[in-house]
Symmetry: C2
Subunit: 437 residues, 2 copies
């Protein structure tokens, strides 16, 4: 990864370097360098039936765009997955209800204020935005989806929201990269993903943008992801596909085990590609579309890990031989969430004893004497004992890299899962303890 | 806390300062200073029926005592609680079986090698120690309890164990402080607790020693705790009391959420105080004894938190208003294990939004709009909203101290629990990532 490429696609920058062309603060306010694991923003083309725009609501004392508005064509279907945190925001509560109706005409994303833990005043602010946009578009308020990310415990200021929404409604269409930069808060680079599929003889585009890096900065929070496609997909099938993809992607990443009050992923299908609407896996092209959606979700999930607070290494935990896939995922997350495993990787230390510990504490079926642990394709321990012929040289070399793989084989069954995380470094402490809100 | 007091009772020191009178490495090898939260070692008197001794087994390249032997009088009863980590050591597997028999004549603790994940060779080493001690004392091998702490994945060397045990069998009786120093590995200070109770007209002593500081150093692990009393207590009642005390003490502490493969707490009752054996709460003095046992367990548990890796602040999380006590404990642990809460406390930041997040992710009943969060007796948020009259000044003052209290009220029921942890600092990363095994 060359630095120039990271910058060209990367973090919002002041002045000329800023992809929104405006003066941004975001991660720069904390003097955060772009993550060494950053990837460039992909060339997401315009997606028929979806028009992104950005505006300044001035939610914080900054001079950057912090309000994103995407207008969707009539007939757009929507699906969503949301945080399981029971102290969730009004946006999440209402979004959960709205996806049951399955229709979307607009998305509004506020950056700089999470509007979480703000009681009825927070809910009123969301309802005001929904009404304002619905009035302009001539749709139902329930067709307008709202997300917010930033400070917890401060009601979203209604006057700023109203002015920002008004500006966005009149703003010119912008690129997906500008939209992705505008939903970001303390992200150190701008995150997007792209895939295509042939459905019913037509090439459909699946694009996605996401923000989040764990709960990176004091009072900042939340992973917010949006997938937009021009394919026609019936709402129930879209929800099934998104739920399945989330289980293997967003639900398989962890930065610090802390679940935000506002995590949201929404998928919008405008239907403008002209294919016969997909309603199930028997329809032609459904498999290809599902693969593209899954691919975009996986890319987006990885980008969040790559921007994890203080991350220096991207870690993949491959679990095989578990009793079930779900058990494998839980074991993988126990390894990925273990501070001792994450600090060992940060220290480039092939400390497989810590992996054993993490597997054992997962609360899932495991037999110590059938357990095997490896790094980067080299087994360090097999069947409950250190390998006599274990050569740490290739493992030490592997651990010096940016992309680390930990292999865990339970030796019990066919259950398997892959989980992703980052290492735990001084950078995490610096961001979360040294910097004051 | 004056430094001189910490040193006099604190970490094993080289040469003259060393309480064992020998040259120790332990935490000094890592240049760890004594924890700022250290407490002095209490004046535990000799306990009738229990004779501690220490010896050098040279489990590592150090010149310190690393093998502890305690001989118990005939008739000593024993109870135990063990790690739930399914990848536990042979010592834990065997100890679990032994406490069912309820008799103890000896305890051996090896420091420097955890003997975990070592297969049949690890088990053979434990059986050899049990046979060697049983032969000398003329008891059953199952009367000999063995614990080990240190490197994972290296079988305990049988020759070193044999020589060390032989030396310990012939060693003179030592103080409980010497025993406590000898079971330590990377502990930065020596840990003990003392309580007394009047039982059946006699004053009984309850003493305890413990080692552990999370899984502090690379390949080092484990909390090992031992409670010894001269009271006569029937084995089933002793087990009931220890289990109940553990639930409110050892099971309510967390340093880094990582559960060791070897965690063990054993309670030995020699019966030499001459009281009529306690068999249940109807017996006179049973309440007083239970209170003393609980007090010692609580003190020992707190000492482990006070030596948590990199700890600069001791944090008490008080949860009230939960649906049940167990639910309250889970919520407290979710708060205490949250890296974002722990780093906020390290940064002396009254970030109650992170506490809200942690409560919400606990997976326990909670109602956002009834939730209240406070610090050091001052509510920051009540009933799901920030308090308009919230004054951060006294909270900021409280957070500057060493002893921090976080209050969580769920507003749902009568369930309550108190949980203890430490903050998450650069010291944790330094110990676990910068230092290589």
């Amino acid at each position: 990864m060359q630095e120039a490429r990271v910058f060209s696609a990367g973090a919002p920058r002041r002045g000329r370097d800023c992809p929104t062309g405006r003066d941004c603060l975001c991660a720069l306010a904390m003097n955060l360098d772009p993550s060494p694991l950053a990837l460039p923003f992909p060339a997401i083309p315009p997606i028929a039936g979806a028009r992104p725009r950005v505006a300044k609501a001035h939610y914080k004392a900054w001079d950057r765009c912090d309000l994103t508005f995407v207008e969707f064509a009539e007939g757009t279907t929507v699906a969503g997955v949301f945080t399981r945190n029971v102290c969730c925001s009004s946006e999440v509560e209402m979004g959960r209800e709205q996806v049951r109706l399955g229709r979307a005409r607009a998305l509004i994303v506020n950056a700089g204020n999470a509007n979480a833990f703000t009681g009825y005043r927070g809910r009123e602010a969301v309802e005001q935005i929904m009404a304002q946009v619905a009035h302009r578009l001539g749709c139902e308020p329930s067709d307008v989806f709202v997300s917010s990310t930033g400070v917890i415990g401060v009601p979203l200021p209604k006057d700023k929201a109203q002015a920002g929404v008004a500006a966005a409604l009149d703003a010119p269409e912008c690129s997906w990269e500008e939209a992705a930069a505008t939903i970001g808060t303390t992200d150190t680079f701008t995150k997007g993903a792209l895939a295509t599929a042939i459905v019913d003889g037509r090439t459909v585009t699946v694009g996605g943008i996401i923000k989040g890096s764990g709960m990176i900065a004091p009072d900042m929070a939340t992973m917010l992801g949006y997938v937009v496609t021009d394919a026609a997909v019936e709402v129930n099938f879209l929800q099934d596909l998104l739920t399945a993809a989330s289980l293997r992607t967003f639900n398989c990443i962890t930065v610090d085990s802390d679940t935000s009050t506002s995590d949201t992923v929404l998928a919008f299908a405008t239907g403008k590609a002209g294919n016969a609407a997909l309603a199930g896996f028997d329809d032609p092209g459904a498999d290809a579309f599902a693969a593209a959606l899954n691919d975009v979700c996986r890319q987006l999930a990885h980008l969040v890990v790559r921007d994890g607070e203080g991350a220096q290494k991207f870690i993949e935990v491959q679990v095989t031989g578990a009793t079930t896939d779900d058990s494998a995922r839980r074991i993988g997350l126990a390894v990925a969430n273990s501070p001792l495993v994450k600090t060992a990787i940060a220290g480039e230390d092939a400390n497989w004893g810590r992996v054993v510990m993490a597997v054992g504490k997962a609360g899932e079926p495991a037999d110590r004497d059938k357990l095997s642990i490896g790094f980067g394709g080299v087994w360090a321990a097999r069947d409950g004992q250190p390998l006599a012929e274990y050569d740490e040289t290739p493992v030490a070399q592997h651990l010096k890299g940016r992309e680390i793989r930990i292999e865990v084989d339970l030796g019990l069954g066919d259950g398997r899962a892959t989980v992703w995380t980052c290492d735990l470094t001084h950078g995490y402490i610096a961001i979360n303890a040294d910097y004051r809100s």
